[in-house]
Subunit: 153 residues, 2 copies
């Protein structure tokens, strides 16, 4: 998706939620779009000096309520944020238990269909109305397997 189209769609979401698309919110959306993986608040503050921590929390929360951003839980105490799947496409996560980094990964269409069928079966058996799913792989990423660099943020 082009940057223009991305901003248009986020802007629409915000308007629906009666919120403004301010410079800082644009900045956050572009950062998340460029990262291609979920970012933690410390990571965001580290690359964008000058942002107030509370404003980042508040704006990510606003963007989440508007449906443009999603909050994901990794292997540590930090929340991470990524663009909503409607903007990035459906994907899953590789969570490195060494450096705590989360990487996006997509399944082939065939495997994703198989997964959906499995989930339908499970939900139906429990009379559960499923709205979304989360599939994470925990392990060691290529970087950490190659050389011990220690955990980052």
């Amino acid at each position: 998706m082009s940057a223009g189209a991305l901003h248009d769609r986020v802007a629409t979401s915000l308007v629906r939620a009666e919120q403004r698309y301010t410079a800082q919110r644009r900045q956050l959306v572009e950062l998340l779009a460029g990262a291609g993986r979920p970012l933690s608040i410390p990571e965001i503050l580290g690359t964008q000096p000058g942002l107030a921590q509370s404003s980042v929390y508040r704006n990510l929360d606003t963007l989440e309520r508007a449906g443009a951003v999603r909050r994901v839980q990794g292997a540590d105490d930090f929340a991470r944020y990524e663009l909503d799947e409607e903007l990035t496409g459906h994907h899953h996560h590789l969570v490195c238990t060494v450096c705590r980094r989360i990487t996006d990964v997509e399944l082939s269409a065939r495997h994703e269909r198989a997964l959906d069928r499995a989930l339908e079966e499970a939900a139906e058996r429990s009379s559960f109305r499923a709205l979304s799913h989360r599939l994470d792989l925990f392990g060691v990423c290529a970087d950490c397997a190659a050389g011990p660099a220690g955990p980052g943020v």
Copy 2:
């Protein structure tokens, strides 16, 4: 698994970790075994009056390090604990976004195999050494769909 066999296996895990199997730890293990779903600390403290909160946190942590208990993250801020899959069998979770309750669910062997193949493909493509996975369904449980009861703990 019988209660005796369960305690034997937990005891072995604790011995390996050079920890003792005290009365409170037995109590926690039996509670988790009887619940059949992950429990939060508030839930545990609610049903077991007299336990010190800090001791519950510490003992669940000890049991987790020993490999007898697993900590899982739901849809709210509370951590939940369940017996390790080695004791309960591999399973996944239905997370109700209304009452926050987590329910265990198993996939059929066929679907579980399909899932494993999909994960292998994804891990290999990213040179990721996968150690475990987490598959959660988010939605509304049967109880909450039937009648609005409001979120519990």
